[in-house]
Amino acid sequence: MEPALLSPAAYKFFHIPTALFALLIPLAGTAAFAYIMKRRIDPLLKAAPDNRFDQPLARIWRVLKIWLAQWRQPRYMMAGVIHIFIFAGFLVLSIRSTSLVFMGFWEEFTFPGFGGTFGHIYNVFKDFAATWVLIACVIAAIRRGIFRPERYAVPARYGKDHTGEAVFVLALISTLMISESLFEASLAAAQIQQLQTAEFVAPGTLAWLFRNMLLDAPIAKLQSMHITAYFIHDLTFFFFLCFLPLGKHFHVITSLFNVFFMRLERGNIKPVRHGVTDEQLDDLESFGVKKFEDFTWKHMLDFYTCADCGRCSDNCPANAVKRPLSPRFISIKGRDYMFANFPLGGKDVVKDKDYQLIGDIYHPDEIWSCTTCGACEQECPLGIEYIDKIVDLRRGMVDEGNVPQSLQKPLRALEKRGNPWGKMEKKRGAWVKEIAEDAPVKLIEKGESADVLYFVDSISSYDDRMQGIAQATARILAKAGIDFGVLGKLEKDSGNEVRRFGEEMLFQDLKAQNTDAILEAGVKRIVTADPHAYNALRKDYDNLPPVDHISQVICQEVEAGRLSLTAANGDGKVYTYHDPCYLGRHNQIYEDPRRVLDAIPGLSRVEMSRSRDRSFCCGGGGLMLFYEPEEEQRMGVLRVEMAAKAGANVIVTACPFCLVNIEDAIKVAGLEGRMEAIDLSELVVQHLAA
């Protein structure tokens, strides 16, 4: 039987077999793509090492969840759902598009397994996929081009708007969908006209619509449409493939790898250089990122992978208060640098030896503005990381002596006295005297020993107001009958922010002193009420006894019946819990503090719209208290306003830095008397049954 239409493999165009074009287009397209990819990979080969091949199962799990299942997409419902449809359509249609390429010169081609019944089922499915992808593209184009959500805007200082590229790519995708459907529909229409068995076209699909429109078309017209649609598809396919690595749509190719190699742990900081132990740090020539090649290859891959969706910056508290930091542009500036300095045509640009990224594409205030709250990384659907890059850039600045004066003083005090205020070591344990009668605290500096170490850290040891948290913590531990002590003058700052502000060697010093003191004390367990200390002891220290945050201890003790809490009935207050970044996002402790609050009978509690892993940073802890940022308002003020909007009049938190920032913000916002802040431990002490 004669075929209804000649296929591109059999057709002749002015006596030239079109199969020849169908062979040449993929050859040229693949060669161009291979060359482009080689140039894109070149800088990664010059990058710093990064150990990303560990824990393959955990990595595959990330790929299945975050890449394949698009887990983080629906956090932005509208954009997320549109993306899921396009992504799923791409997965389905990649098989069809690839086999079409082969069919151009090899008429009978099918992928193994796609020849029989499964092939027919797949065909129906891919017709639906092409249809929903086209609809999704139209909606996305309207959204991007007409409604223009604010988070895609590009401030003038960061260059030009990216809407054009986005809409152009949507048009390319639509072209692929339409040409594929026309190719199929023209054949089906011809088969029906010639009363042959036509491939089933599912009703309601794009191919079905086209086929019905073409049922009366002359065969010659259908034939030329069939061939034209094929080559439009073929050319668009290879043009699109080569266009992807030239802009933000590179993520179509890199996302799978970026998610596989993404950060597995939270709250930790990368070593100064992978493969160099802490003991070997002194031998390193240079610290941190100063020139581009100091970034690790994964961090460069991040730059390529950024899809410019703006979710990081939309959640960034520094960006919200108009500090000069927008994480999205950390990536985009990095990518622009790579495109400009590793050009597709021509040689890599060689920078002179004094060249520094800081002052060129990045700026000191931009890099110091980050509170390391982690909201950006939590949100990124592609597993791009920012904290390690910021810390590496800070390490570079510290190494060059480029540190703001406001931070130099506390750093020097930390070096000399072990706390950022330069207070006397011997006064570190002074807060215990006030509660000596009702909650005696053992002082390990005096040679006493205990089962549990309460690691106080600097702010709760020295700050008049925050000593209240230390005292409340001690009262709770005493009430629960836990045998505990504090290190007193043997304790130094945990160094959580010292490390995150890039002063690695000072951190190593503090860590060594604390580690010695803790191991010497012979305790079995550590408790702290400061999430920054909690994070540092767990993530940055090694070989310590297990560490708990006081909220976990309270939760256990209350639920085991060893602590009982009196009712809050009739206090007329509405409480809301503010998740500290270093307790929540970095350590995933969201439930324990809430369970403690709910264990206070009659306590009325509401949630802020930004809570748990979307909590909004209060302004940052540790050295961030000393930094003087350029900003239009305080993060804390925004946070207090969020609490007010949720209908709360008491903000409960579980971190001394949050308490400092929020109490200040209540005053700045003029909400004194209408809003109050309290630490979870202080609230629990108020409700300890006699």
Binding site: Q408, E415, K416, G422, M424, L506
Partner: protein, 259 residues
Amino acid sequence: MEILVCVKRVPDTSENEIELNGAGNDIDRDDLVYSVNEWDNYAVEEALQIVDKVGGGVTVISVGDDESEEVLRREMAMGADKGILLSDDAFEETDGRGIAAVLKAAVDKGNYDLILTGAQADDGAAQVGGMLAAMMDVPFASLVNTIEVDGDKLKIGREIEGGNQEMHEISMPCVLSIQTGINEPRYVGIRGIRKVASVEIPTMGAADLGVDAAAVAARVKRADYFLPDLGEGAEILEGDTDEIIEKLIELLKAKGGLK
């Protein structure tokens, strides 16, 4: 340009609680931490910036005991090329003139175009720079807050009481005493200090310098040291910050300063 910067190790007033010792003749030094005198640190930064622009070398020098080596090292970690420690029992109890005489002897051993000192030290009397210039018989300017190199001359700015600024031209060699705020000193991390930990710092005593112990002996001696008694009309408010603020507001209201 060869620049010599004179630096001093002092108790860090911002990181100490200064109290008198039991005998009442000095401060209690048991729990003190020391650092480089703040003004001197600005002077070193300025020297480094000048050398960055016009080339040359920076030497830091200190009169003090062995422990002063620590501040020399910190300034070398900032970028100074050389350090010299002037140490001798004879220098220990001396006064500003004695220090200046010791420094003068050391300056004569080198060949410096410019000598910088801090405007004053936390525990000093702001006299060494001027005396050193006089002994060397070279021009001197104090409280300098800008320096611009112009051939073998310098254009310098000085801060005048009341917020005014005065500009001068001064020929080298000369001595300048540097005011804080002239620049933003760079940060010195632990890593920087470790890098210069094993650099040799030459120590010179009275004999090396050819200085006669008697000639540098103090002519001004400390007779007493105490916290002044509360004067008439002075009142120190006590309590925590909130209480102090409350009392202050009450006082201001009572005296008609606040309505």
